[in-house]
Structures are given as structure tokens and as C-alpha cells.
């Protein structure tokens, strides 16, 4: 460890000014990060964690300014530094992996071109001729004297080398996979060849590994970030990539110029848990290998503790606690940290399990598994339902069938919660839409309260809609921004002609009270509310018609952990008070543990495992379920029940 920290923030103050108000986003934050180490800033949104990170790289959004304190990076002061110094530092000194992989790649350029930009902007020229020119300048005419670790295999070199080897009768099958264009260095080729027992390994490596072109190097960087078939992928556009692949491309981009510090700003919160785990594992591996310091920003304490050595907890712009990760997790001192530890869904489910291990059953474990009680009649029964979509091909008559949901059956008992779990693309939302009668199943039947929903007349369907209500994932998109909160909640009442004006207003007040929002919220508009408040409004709207079944499609996935915990608690309370039945659709198993009685795990349109929640969590039968469980952030942390 060097005595000097790589990044040292002292008493940082950041203020956001708008025409009407001034908000202090960061108030006197301090932290130290040493070269090659990792540190996570944890806090809810608005805590100033992202603002601190953006201040470091000089990318505060409009209206934001550093008003005090200092940021020293690698011995240079960044506060008040000229723009040119920051431009020089970005990319080569400090890399950024942004939060949302969907919006952070320019949709009109190929992925490879965007990574190459990273190389060019930081003058990382990998072409052979430049390398030669550089060598002549330093009077090192012998290529062998150059750091062999920095000359990469080119696609031509790889082809020629493999040809030369197979001519000699060497089995190149196993070798081919390990020679990655733009990634494998001369040194590595040399050792690979030596392993094969070739006497002239050094000479061969020297002959065939002479530096890669920028295109090859881009492919190498993508391969390094864990993208398969990188050379072909580099020629594709961002919209042809999945979320996980895009995030890998962004990681390749951030690491292209080999920065000393990598800032990862909630790099995986938009991704599925299993993908999240793979990407974080890979990011951890890369930063360790390249000896890059990692500044990790997250709202999930479990994730932070798992991924970083040091934690800094921020709350309302202040650092409230900092220290070694496990220390903070097991022995939080500040009240806010204690709340965070309690709220972290990843940790909460661990706690339930550990409490159980210690025999402290009943009190802690959620309501009941549904077993042992008198079996209530099922409210919803989905019988062998399939949904096939037709996809258009390149020619007018080309059609391919895509089976989104394949023979899915499930039952939800009255007053219970069933969870449908799976990654995106598993077909769980399609099932939800069919249950809501928004999509017609290709095959199978859906029976609600004893009646086949396909047999409903128009009038009966209207009535059915009042008894089954959805709450969707995106509280920003699902509320009409032009409607006041009153109008949003009142609309279903008006549509179904429930009561007079006064009665409807009284009902809206009651509903707002039920979801713990003040009655004054009625007069406000969605854009004036926070994400959690909006989701409460969405819940209130869903409950307006006193439905029996509420379909919660990723209803808490977009929320911060603390808010998520509150909304989950609210949903639990409402279920008890109003004897609601929930169909809970989510990719987040940690949430399932807290909420569900029955779990259905979906993969590629099929239900691969089902059972009572406790059974599925404790004795998962399927590999896929095990993988999902292992992917819950924080699952690897061993929580000591100290202070419990």
C-alpha cells in the first residue's frame, strides 16, 4: 500500500442551483481510496453518493457546482482545475461505468466504434507502425526488448500462427480458444506455446505477435469484458445487445485506456440478478488483475459489502459512517446505517434464514406457508396456458413462431401471495397480462373465482376488470403526468360509476390514508412526488375498486431499498386488512422471500420449479433456482448475529 491515497476527498461541498432554489447535495464528505483497493458509497437516492462520484470526474449535471473542499487524484487537485486537465484525466486516469446500460451507448454508432473512440481519445494507439515509430524514438530497435506484455496478437498474426503450427502437426484445437485477438499478449502466447512443448516458443511469439490493429484491440477489450464472439459483436449496434452485453461493452469502454480509478455508478441495478452477479464478478476480477482502484456506488448495502473492502455510508449529503465493510454490516453504529442493514432485502432474507437456523421460528417468519391451515378455495387458477407470438421475418411471408409462455399452470389461494419469478424474457409478464385479460392465451384456460375468463361477455369483462387490478413496475410511466393525483385515483371509480362526486372524494381520501399519504396529495401531480410516493398512488388506484386480486408486476423493482421495504410493508398490511390476493411478478428473489407464500420459478416460458416459499429457498431442486438464489446480492456474506 502506498502511503498516499490515489483518491482523497476532503470536506467536499456540492450545491445545485436552480432559478428558484439552492440545494446542498453533498455537505462535507470525505473519503480516501488507495490504489488497487475498492470502496463503496452506500445510500438512498438523494443521499449524494452519485453526486460525489460525478464531482470526482467533473461531470456534475447542469446547475451543480463544487463550492468547497478538495478532491485530490494521484497528487493533482481537481477542484478548480481547468477543463483541459479534466479532459486529459477522463478515460486514462478515471473511468466511469454508468448506471443504465440502455441509455449510455449512442444508438447510432456500432459498439466497436464507440470503444475505439475511447482508445483514440486517450491516445492509446495500438497500431504496429506507431509502435515502431515510438521504438525508434527511444532507440530501442530490437522488438524483443519491448515490454512483451503490451504487444497484442492481431487477427492476421493469429491466423498465420495457427497455420504455421498445424503445418508442424501441432494440435491447434485446444489452442485456438485461448488465442484471443487483441487480448492475448506476446508473453502469454510464448508461455502457451512453451506449455505445448515447443522449443522455439519465444521465436514464434516474437514472429507472430507484433501488435494488433485498433479493430483487433477493440475486439480484445470486449472479449476481456466477457463478451463472447467479440469481433462480430463489435460490428453490431447497441440495440442488438441485451442489457448485460451492453454493460459489458460499457465496462470495456471504461477500461480501454487502463484508468487507475474506475467509478462504477450502480452498474448493475438495471439488470437481472443472475446477469448482475456475472458482471460484478467479472468487474471485480478485472479490476484486481489490472490493479485498478474501484469506487462503487450502490443503494444496496448487501451488494456493497460483498463487492468492496471499505464502505462509506452517506445520508442527506453527509458521510454518516465509514470503515471496513463487514465491520459496518455486523456492527452498524449510526441509526441510518442500522435502518439500511435492516432494509437491505438481500440481508433481510438471510436474516430470516439464520433466525430459523437458531430456532427462533414463528415470530420472524412471515405469515405462513399456506400449509396446515384450512385450505381456502383458489381465487385464480391458470391451467396449461401457452402464448405464441408470430415474429415477422425479412420477407413478407416469413413467419416464425415464438413461444413466450409454454404450458404454465398455477393456482393462487384466496388471501395468499403467489410469486412468479424469473429473469427478463422468461415470460412472467406475459402470464400477468393474460391473467389481467389484456392478452388472449393461445392455449389453456384462466379461471378466476370459478369462471373461465375467456367466456366473459363484454359486460362481464368490464366487471372482471374491477375485481382484478394491476400495479406496474414503472411508477413514472404508469401515472398520467397531466392528471392530478385525485383524478388518477378517482378515474376507475368514475369509469365504473361508483357513488356520487362527494362519495368518490371521500373514497379517494380513504385510499390515500390507507397507503399512508396525506390527503393534501390529492391536489398534486405525479412529477411532484418521489418514486415511492408514486408507487403508493399506483397502489391506491389499484385498490379503488376493492379488487380481490392485485397483480404486482415488478411493483417494487424500481425503488430504493428503504422505500422498497416501506412499500412491501404497506402491501403486507393491506393484504391483512383487506384480505387481498396477490400475484407477485418479480426477478428479485430477496423480495419474494419477504412476501410470498407460494413460488413459481419460470425459465424460458416454462415453470421449472414450484412450491411453498420456504421449501424453494431452503431446498431448491432445480439448477436454475439454485443459480437464481446464489445470485441474490449479499448471499455470500456470513452475518454474525451480533447485536441481534
Amino acid at each position: 500500500m502506498t502511503a498516499q491515497p490515489l483518491l482523497s476527498i476532503r470536506d467536499l461541498e456540492v450545491v445545485f442551483r436552480s432559478r428558484t432554489s439552492t440545494v446542498s447535495a453533498v455537505r462535507g464528505a470525505s473519503l480516501d481510496l488507495y490504489a488497487g483497493h475498492s470502496l463503496a458509497i452506500v445510500g438512498e437516492s438523494g443521499s449524494g453518493k452519485s453526486t460525489t462520484a460525478h464531482a470526482v470526474i467533473g461531470l456534475l449535471p447542469g446547475g451543480g457546482r463544487v463550492t468547497g473542499g478538495s478532491i485530490r487524484f494521484d497528487g493533482q487537485e481537481l477542484v478548480g482545475a481547468p477543463a483541459s486537465r479534466l479532459v486529459a484525466l477522463r478515460g486514462s486516469g478515471i473511468g466511469l461505468v454508468p448506471q443504465d446500460p440502455m441509455s449510455n451507448l449512442n444508438p447510432v454508432y456500432r459498439v466497436g466504434a464507440q470503444i475505439r473512440e475511447s482508445l483514440r481519445a486517450n491516445n492509446v494507439d495500438v497500431s504496429r507502425s506507431t509502435y515502431r515509430a515510438l521504438l525508434e524514438l527511444t532507440h530501442e530497435t530490437d522488438l524483443a526488448d519491448t515490454p512483451a506484455a503490451r504487444l497484442y496478437l492481431s487477427s492476421d498474426g493469429r491466423r498465420d500462427l495457427l497455420a504455421a503450427l498445424s503445418e508442424r502437426g501441432v494440435d491447434v484445437e485446444s489452442l485456438a480458444d485461448r488465442l484471443v485477438v487483441g487480448f492475448t499478449t506476446r508473453l502469454e502466447v510464448q508461455s502457451l506455446l512453451r506449455q505445448l512443448g515447443l522449443q522455439d516458443a519465444a521465436a514464434l511469439a516474437e514472429r507472430y505477435v507484433v501488435g494488433a490493429s485498433a479493430t483487433d484491440r477493440v475486439a480484445g477489450l470486449l472479449a476481456e469484458a466477457g463478451l463472447a464472439d467479440a469481433a462480430r459483436r463489435a460490428r453490431q449496434y447497441p440495440h442488438e445487445f441485451s442489457g448485460g452485453m451492453r454493460q459489458r461493452a460499457l465496462i470495456a469502454m471504461a477500461l480501454a485506456a487502463r484508468p487507475k480509478l474506475l467509478i462504477a455508478d450502480e452498474p448493475t441495478s438495471a439488470l437481472d440478478v443472475t446477469v448482475q452477479r456475472q458482471i460484478l464478478d467479472h468487474l471485480g476480477l478485472l479490476t484486481r488483475e489490472l490493479d485498478t482502484a474501484l469506487l462503487f456506488i450502490t443503494h444496496d448495502l448487501g451488494l456493497a459489502a460483498e463487492r468492496a473492502e471499505q464502505l462509506v455510508v452517506m445520508y442527506k449529503g453527509r458521510v454518516v459512517e465509514s470503515g471496513p465493510s463487514l465491520e459496518i454490516l455486523t456492527n452498524p453504529r449510526h441509526p441510518y446505517t442500522k435502518r439500511l442493514v435492516q432494509a437491505a432485502p438481500s440481508l433481510a432474507s438471510r436474516r430470516i434464514q439464520q433466525a430459523k437456523d437458531q430456532g427462533e421460528e414463528a415470530a420472524v417468519i412471515a405469515v405462513s406457508g399456506g400449509e396446515g391451515l384450512v385450505k381456502a378455495p383458489d381465487l385464480l387458477e391458470v391451467r396449461g396456458v401457452s402464448k405464441v407470438f408470430q415474429l415477422r421475418g425479412s420477407r413478407p411471408w416469413d413467419r416464425t413462431d415464438f413461444t413466450a409462455v409454454d404450458d404454465v399452470s398455477l393456482t393462487v389461494a384466496r388471501g395468499s401471495t403467489a410469486a412468479l419469478v424469473g429473469e427478463s424474457g422468461s415470460g412472467k409478464s406475459t402470464v400477468a397480462n393474460m391473467v389481467l385479460s389484456l392478452l388472449e392465451p393461445t392455449k389453456g384456460t384462466i379461471v378466476f373465482d370459478g369462471v373461465d375468463t375467456a367466456s366473459l361477455s363484454r359486460h362481464e369483462l368490464f366487471d372482471f376488470r374491477s375485481r382484478v387490478q394491476p400495479v406496474f413496475q414503472d411508477p413514472y410511466g404508469s401515472l398520467d403526468p397531466m392528471f392530478s393525483i385525485f383524478r388518477i385515483i378517482e378515474e376507475p371509480l368514475r369509469t365504473h360509476r361508483v357513488g356520487g362526486r362527494a362519495a368518490r372524494e371521500a373514497r379517494v381520501r380513504e385510499l390515500l390514508d390507507q397507503v399512508a399519504l396525506p390527503a393534501s396529495t390529492m391536489r398534486r401531480y405525479p412529477n411532484e412526488l418521489s418514486g415511492g410516493q408514486r408507487q403508493r398512488v399506483a397502489v391506491a388506484r389499484a385498490l379503488a375498486l376493492q379488487p380481490q386480486l392485485v397483480v404486482l408486476d415488478e411493483a417494487v423493482s424500481a425503488l430504493d431499498v428503504l422505500v422498497q421495504a416501506q412499500v412491501l410493508e404497506l402491501l403486507g398490511r393491506l393484504q391483512r386488512e383487506l384480505s387481498l390476493t396477490y400475484l407477485f411478478i418479480t426477478h428479485d428473489l430477496a423480495v419474494v422471500r419477504q412476501m410470498a407464500d407460494q413460488v413459481y420459478v419460470m425459465e424460458k416460458g416454462r415453470v421449472v420449479e414450484q412450491g411453498p416459499t420456504d421449501r424453494v429457498f431452503e431446498e431448491p431442486l432445480e439448477e436454475y433456482t439454485k443459480a437464481l438464489l446464489a445470485a441474490i446480492p449479499g448471499s455470500s456474506i456470513n452475518l454474525h448475529p451480533r447485536g441481534h
Partner: protein, 309 residues
């Protein structure tokens, strides 16, 4: 993409038939006898009138007239106008000057609109932006003919820089002032559209990522803001080409340009069916073609757009 273009071209057939039928009906329903109108106040022999009527098929029922017209078009004969000239000749005379005028207007509005729009968008809320906004509002608010007369007076009469009217002199210099007038309103829209688009893209996540990569401000603007911002602008410009050609009636009137607008206007007042139908149908075809071009261009600029079916 071949399929897409084929389908779009096939769609033009019903559009062509519908447009010609509609225009033919409207001309047919125009009040007054066009043949009588040819002779004005002079007394004419009824037999002569009859002969002219049968020459133009005006004595046939409507649907037969339309059928004969279509047959003519398909065999490359656009018919004869009431003045005795073949319609094809009228088209050849009117279209070049209008196309020239429309293209000049398009270039003017694209260059000035985009350049001003980009700078305004990058400096949103600053003095330049506010000034540009106010001026564009003024351009939109002032009627075309006011603008036309104003420029004629200022540049033509007072300063004497440019010819006041066009007439037979259809040089670029003579057409510059009408092109400016014709472009003015669209220019204001292009400027506003570019400004909004640039301002929006300037705060996009991928622009921040590009900055975080280490690109300088100029490279960020050139590579990441400009191209993405111009996609909606190009769409607007393409669609505007058709409007500029058809909508030049007022401008052509003010500057006495013997273009499409003027010719169609005169043909309507004369009840000259063959001329009106052919001229307008060509406008419709130009409009459809420029829209097709825009859609293809759109797909070329934005790889996310896939032209299927």
C-alpha cells in the same frame, strides 16, 4: 429493404388513382362552362362549341372522361390544355423553375436553420438562444406576402441588390429573394426543431459517457450530439420538399414566377381540367416520393429503424 421499397411503390398506385379521381371530380364540378369561357364575351356558333366539347371529350359522361384521361396518361399522353398547348409542354415549362426554387429554399432553410439551431441548443437560455427564438417566432408570425413585399421593397427597390421580380429571368440570383421568402417559415421550424433536439441530446446519458471516455467537448458535440439531433430534422426537411413545391403559389404570385403554383391557379380559374389534373397529380407523386426518400434516409441514419414487411 428491397421489399420495403417495392411495397411503398405499390402503395403509390391506389394513391395515384384516388388523387386523380378526386381532382378530376372537383374540376368537373367547377361551376361555369369552360368552353364558353374560352370565348369570353364574343358571340360563338353553337356548332363550334360542340366541336370543341367533343375534342376535349366534354360531351361524354364523367366516368368515360376520366377513363379516357387515365388511358392517355398510361400511354404517355397528358392531353391538351384549353389554350391548345399539350399539357406535357405546360408541365415542362412550369416544373423546372418551381423545382429550382424549392431546392434553393430547402438549402437555405437547412443551412441557416440547422446552424442557428445547433448554436441555440448548445447555449440554451443564453442571449443568442433567446434572440434566435424571438426572431423565429417573428418569422412564423409574419404572413408570407408581407415578408415578400417587405423584401421586394428593401432589397429590390431601395438597395437594388436583387431583381424585384423573376418573370423570364430564372437565374439563381433572380430566384434568391423568392427562395428566401419561401424558406422563411420552414427555416424557423427547422431552427426550433434542431434547437430542441440538440438541447435534449446534450443531456443524454451517452453524451455524458462520451465525455467520461475522455473526448474533448468539440468531439462530443460533433460525433455524439450532432448526428443524433439531426435525425428528426432530416425527416422534417424531406417532408418539407413537397410542401415547398406545392405551397409556392403565394410566393410565385408576388414575384411573378411562371411556376407550378401560378400555372395551376390560372388553370383553375379557366376551368382547364387537363392541366389542373396533371399538374396536381405530379405534385402528389413528388410528395409521395419525397416521403419515401425520407423514410429510407431515416433508416440509414438511425440503425434502430428496420424497414420490414
Amino acid at each position: 429493404m428491397g421489399w420495403y421499397v417495392g411495397r411503398r411503390l405499390a402503395q403509390m398506385v391506389p394513391v395515384f388513382l384516388g388523387a386523380t379521381l378526386l381532382i378530376y371530380t372537383m374540376v368537373f364540378l367547377l361551376p361555369g362552362d369552360p368552353v364558353k369561357a374560352m370565348f369570353g364575351e364574343r358571340p360563338v356558333n353553337e356548332a363550334i362549341l360542340e366541336r370543341i366539347r367533343s375534342e376535349y371529350n366534354l360531351d361524354q359522361p364523367f366516368i368515360v372522361q376520366y377513363g379516357l384521361y387515365l388511358k392517355g396518361v398510361l400511354t404517355g399522353d397528358l392531353g391538351t390544355s384549353f389554350s391548345g398547348r399539350p399539357v406535357a409542354e405546360v408541365v415542362q415549362q412550369a416544373y423546372p423553375v418551381t423545382v429550382k426554387l424549392a431546392l434553393m429554399a430547402l438549402v437555405i432553410e437547412a443551412v441557416i436553420g440547422v446552424v442557428v439551431g445547433v448554436f441555440a441548443g448548445l447555449r440554451r437560455g443564453k442571449l443568442f438562444d433567446s434572440t434566435a427564438l424571438v426572431l423565429s417566432m417573428a418569422l412564423i408570425a409574419v404572413p408570407t406576402f408581407v415578408m415578400g413585399f417587405l423584401l421586394q421593397l428593401l432589397l429590390g427597390v431601395k438597395l437594388g441588390w436583387l431583381p424585384t421580380t423573376v418573370g423570364g429571368n430564372q437565374s439563381i440570383k433572380a430566384l434568391l429573394m423568392p427562395a428566401l421568402v419561401l424558406a422563411s417559415v420552414s427555416m424557423a421550424y427547422v431552427m426550433r426543431l434542431t434547437r430542441t433536439s440538440v438541447a435534449e441530446n446534450a443531456t443524454a446519458d451517452y453524451v455524458r459517457t462520451a465525455t467520461a471516455k475522455g473526448l474533448g467537448r468539440r468531439a462530443v458535440v460533433r460525433r455524439h450530439i450532432l448526428r443524433n439531433s439531426l435525425i428528426p430534422v432530416v425527416t422534417f426537411l424531406g417532408a418539407d420538399l413537397g410542401t415547398l413545391m406545392g405551397g409556392a403559389i403565394v410566393t410565385e404570385g408576388i414575384f411573378n414566377i411562371p411556376g407550378v403554383g401560378n400555372t395551376v391557379f390560372q388553370a383553375i380559374t379557366r376551368g382547364d381540367g387537363p392541366t389542373v389534373v396533371s399538374m396536381v397529380t405530379i405534385l402528389v407523386v413528388v410528395f409521395i416520393m419525397s416521403n419515401l426518400l425520407v423514410d429510407l434516409l431515416y433508416a440509414a441514419l438511425d440503425p434502430r429503424i428496420r424497414l420490414v414487411r
